[in-house]
């Protein structure tokens, strides 16, 4: 099949992370290794470390609309508007019917459903008290749809469910739809409101996979011998994606070109990751990008701080990058926790400024490196200054065996 391979570029970034509500501050905090993971107290569950986003929630939407919609929608509307503002792109630059909104979600509706069950428990479980808002809040397209309603976008909007690979998967969807000519501009990214769900925390705990530490900022410890699990974070990141010719025509600032991607499936286990398929996914993304492992300057690892997950990813990286002495490796979750469906895109965003400052932000909380996680050029505690950063490879893997890799290149 011969599809013209349009070059697709990132021209705007809007984000809400547990330590920042814009890319400039996010970058500063990542370079300084500043975690703002805090302790929350969840209904039924109790206390747990978590990443909570603080951002101006009514900057682009009335409080009434935030009450009507979902937390995910609120995060999405903020990030989509911020991405457009960052890209200096008025919403009417492209026809509203030629804009697509693709939002990656690990799950959606869990928070709303738990809240409603709790609500009717106050009324002896009489379903007459179940809210009429339940269905529009819990349909999977809700966060993407709230973005279209807010911005008057009449092109397609939908959610991509790919567990914690969903952010990357939506980015890939945006690239594909632009290449197919289905849309002229894409708002693509990921959103997570998972910190509102006691069930998500309880399930990780039941698996022995919920991170903990006396200081919540040290609870997420990928690659450290004492790591004990995931820190759940909320977060969101939406990118403006355009075809290169359109971006150049309007004089857009180009953050990066998406030059390679791949997704595949482990086809073997509900929760355990598998280095062999991860390695295949990385290889496929490199092949599509026309790059070799030695060409990659930074790998943003997926590692979440679970025993097995971190080891599997390190095995995959060790295999592919054994002869890549100039490739540097970091981990963003150690600073912001695991933003689930937003993780891939949020972590990529945090690395994008490396194309300008040539710095690799550090992994934190590695006091005793697990020998099974030891890799060349791991960036720990302090940023590393490189002569030049031209490429970033972003790993993002998820439950039920879903792997994704995105490679971006400095545009020049």
């Amino acid at each position: 099949m011969d599809i013209q391979q349009h070059r697709i570029v990132i021209t705007g970034v809007g984000l809400a992370a547990p330590n920042a509500d814009n890319l400039t501050d996010f970058r500063k905090k990542l370079l300084a290794g500043t975690s703002e993971i805090t302790e929350i107290d969840l209904r039924y569950f109790g206390k747990a470390p978590a990443g909570i986003c603080s951002f101006p929630e009514t900057k682009y939407r009335k409080k009434k609309e935030n009450k009507r919609g979902t937390r995910a929608g609120c995060l999405g509307v903020y990030c989509a508007n911020e991405a457009l503002a960052d890209g200096n792109l008025p919403i009417d630059h492209y026809s509203s019917s030629r804009i697509g909104v693709y939002v990656g979600l690990t799950e959606h509706g869990t928070v709303e459903t738990e809240n409603e069950v709790y609500n009717i428990s106050q009324y002896d479980y009489n379903v007459d008290y179940w809210t009429h808002h339940h269905n529009p809040r819990t349909v999977l397209n809700n966060p993407a749809g709230e973005i279209t309603m807010n911005l008057g976008i009449t092109g397609p909007h939908y959610a991509i469910g790919a567990a914690c690979a969903a952010g990357n998967a939506s980015l890939i969807q945006g690239v594909q739809m632009l290449r197919l000519g289905e849309v002229d501009m894409a708002l693509a990214g990921g959103i997570s409101e998972s910190t509102g769900s006691f069930g998500i925390f309880a399930s990780f705990q039941a698996q022995g996979a919920l991170g903990a530490a006396e200081d919540p900022r040290q609870a997420c410890r990928p690659f450290d011998l004492s790591r004990n699990g995931i820190v759940v974070s909320e977060g969101a990141c939406i990118y403006v994606l355009e075809r290169l010719d359109n971006a150049l025509a309007r004089g857009a600032k180009i953050y990066a070109e998406i030059v390679g991607y791949a997704m595949n499936s482990d086809a073997r286990d509900y929760v355990l990751p598998y280095d062999v398929r991860q390695a295949e996914c990385i290889e496929l993304a490199l092949e599509r990008a026309g790059l070799t492992p030695e060409d990659i300057d930074i790998i943003n690892t997926h590692a979440t701080g679970t025993k097995q997950g971190d080891i599997e990813e390190c095995k995959a990286i060790r295999k592919i990058f054994a002869n890549a002495p100039e490739t540097y490796i970091n981990n963003t979750k150690s600073i912001i926790g695991h933003a689930m469906g937003a993780a891939g895109v949020l972590e990529l965003a945090g690395n994008l400024p490396a194309f300008e400052d040539n710095l690799v932000h550090p992994t934190i909380n590695v006091k005793n490196l697990d020998p099974e996680c030891s890799l060349n050029n791991m960036v720990i505690d302090r940023p590393v200054q490189l002569d030049s950063v031209q490429t970033i490879l972003n790993n993002s893997f998820g439950m039920v065996g879903i792997n994704s890799v995105v490679i971006v290149k400095k545009y020049q």
Binding site: K62, K63, K64, K67, R68, P136
Partner: protein, 83 residues
Amino acid sequence: MTRDEIKDLILEIIEDIDEDADFDALQADKPLRDQLDLDSMDFLDIVMELRKRHKLQIPEEDYPQLATLDSCVNYLEPLLTDA
């Protein structure tokens, strides 16, 4: 409840839905939805709040009687006598 108390109850519920709601120029005999930023889902919120606060089960065929502030008070007054 008195008629004034019922009126305050309705306005309080609307304010809960939309804290920016402006009641200064509200005409009690004109439809609420024509004067305030309320849609059908907000209207169902009002019905739900009356159910939660006063255990009122308002049948769907009676919803039109809640169209204006005056009609709300007229409709609810006999139902909230003991409230």
